[in-house]
Symmetry: C2
Subunit: 240 residues, 2 copies
């Protein structure tokens, strides 16, 4: 295993951090790594808001569902779709199609993963914060986002103060299909459920009794953030 | 620069490949790297269709706007949103909210970037193929995607038969905002336009006379894939 694959496969989300700041050089490297990512038609549709203001960090932690590490991590980045840039270069651009929001979301994922891996390769850790979408309008206002921009997710970064186990994932046989979509093999889910139950029971903190299939279908049986479409529309995005 | 950051910052899209297959071990490593990525609430909403059928590859190359490397690359992967998995575990799941499509798109970007970097770290190269969204229904039918799944993008992988220059990107000063969104500094775009004009004039193949701001605003002045919302809706996604 080369160092890149070792870093990629060694990923654990880190939610507890040392009180140690990142250097300017580390941050520059993380950002340059994000910017080096592929960009659909070179549109470059992502902006990053780096939140250094402690009061804003405290409010964001609360809005994200009381995730204290949003306030305590050395760094907190908010990844946003940004077509305001293009609109300010030329008011004739047409930005309301779902396609453009899709591009922004995919490209933000690609860019953010470069940032996270760069950080992890330097001995840092981090975690994605989708919880910002619990209160998109409030987060948006706090960060002063103009029309044609929208928040997607946050990322905490810092020196890890925990060393969690690797979390098991669905097997390649479930994820990868050859030439044609294959229906779910329920025996494989049963096997994965057993693996996850064991993982949740035995992990070093926050143990629980739960199988994966129950966990995800219980979650998805409730409406997931039904206000996201309205939020995007209010920013001039995903309107049609 | 450590090897991870070197790989990340050395990225160029590769569109010309040697006629040399990847080994099973290489493919296993690439897929395992993708699966190791973060997954929102561990929903694991992404499936990969690995297309090995040469006739399907030929059709996909055509549908993607005659991108011949879709057929000629050693490997071609199609990244899809997949909530069919969850629906087949429990029919009570609610999948129509835009939030879930957003999660699928972000998580597919994160996973795919792990795959691409793993490949690049092994001396391979690749390119994202958003062009599959030129004909989403046709691609979807060709790959037999059921309800609650949708294609997002493809990825070519193989041994590079070209060595293109690094493509300049917008500077960190444009991409990163501190605490609050900052309006675009037009002087920085002028500078970047000059840099891109020089790059397009001087690169080793496919030279052209173009500035970035013209390129992207001309593109965005036309409707971008206006049928994407209908396609997603037809799969039971992003309906509200």
């Amino acid at each position: 295993m080369n160092p890149v694959i070792e870093t990629i496969r060694g990923h654990r989300s880190i939610r507890s951090f040392e009180e140690r700041p990142l250097t300017t050089e580390q941050m520059d490297t993380i950002i340059a790594s994000g910017i080096a990512a592929s960009s659909s038609s070179l549109l470059q549709t992502v902006s990053i808001i780096r939140v250094t203001d402690q009061e804003k960090r405290r409010v964001l932690a609360e809005l994200a569902g009381n995730q204290s590490y949003v306030a305590s991590a050395a760094e907190f980045l908010v990844f946003c779709i940004d077509y305001q840039r293009h609109a300010s270069l030329n008011p004739d651009v047409q930005l309301e199609h779902t396609e453009l929001t899709l591009i922004g979301a995919i490209d933000a994922g690609i860019m953010a993963q470069n940032c996270l891996l760069a950080a992890e390769s330097m001995g840092l850790g981090g975690v994605y914060i989708g919880g910002l979408r619990n209160a998109p309008k409030e987060v948006d206002e706090l960060l002063g986002l103009p029309q044609y921009t929208a928040i997607l997710f946050g990322m905490c970064l810092g020196y890890p103060a925990q060393d969690p186990e690797l979390k098991p994932r669905l097997s390649p046989e479930v994820i990868v299909h050859e030439n044609c979509y294959q229906p779910l093999d329920l025996a494989m889910i049963t096997e994965y459920d057993q693996q996850m139950e064991k993982y949740y029971q035995q992990r070093s903190s926050n143990t629980k009794q739960q199988a994966w299939s129950d966990q995800v279908t219980t979650k998805l049986s409730k409406e997931q953030r039904p206000y996201i479409r309205d939020y995007l529309n209010s920013k001039g995005l995903a309107k049609k």
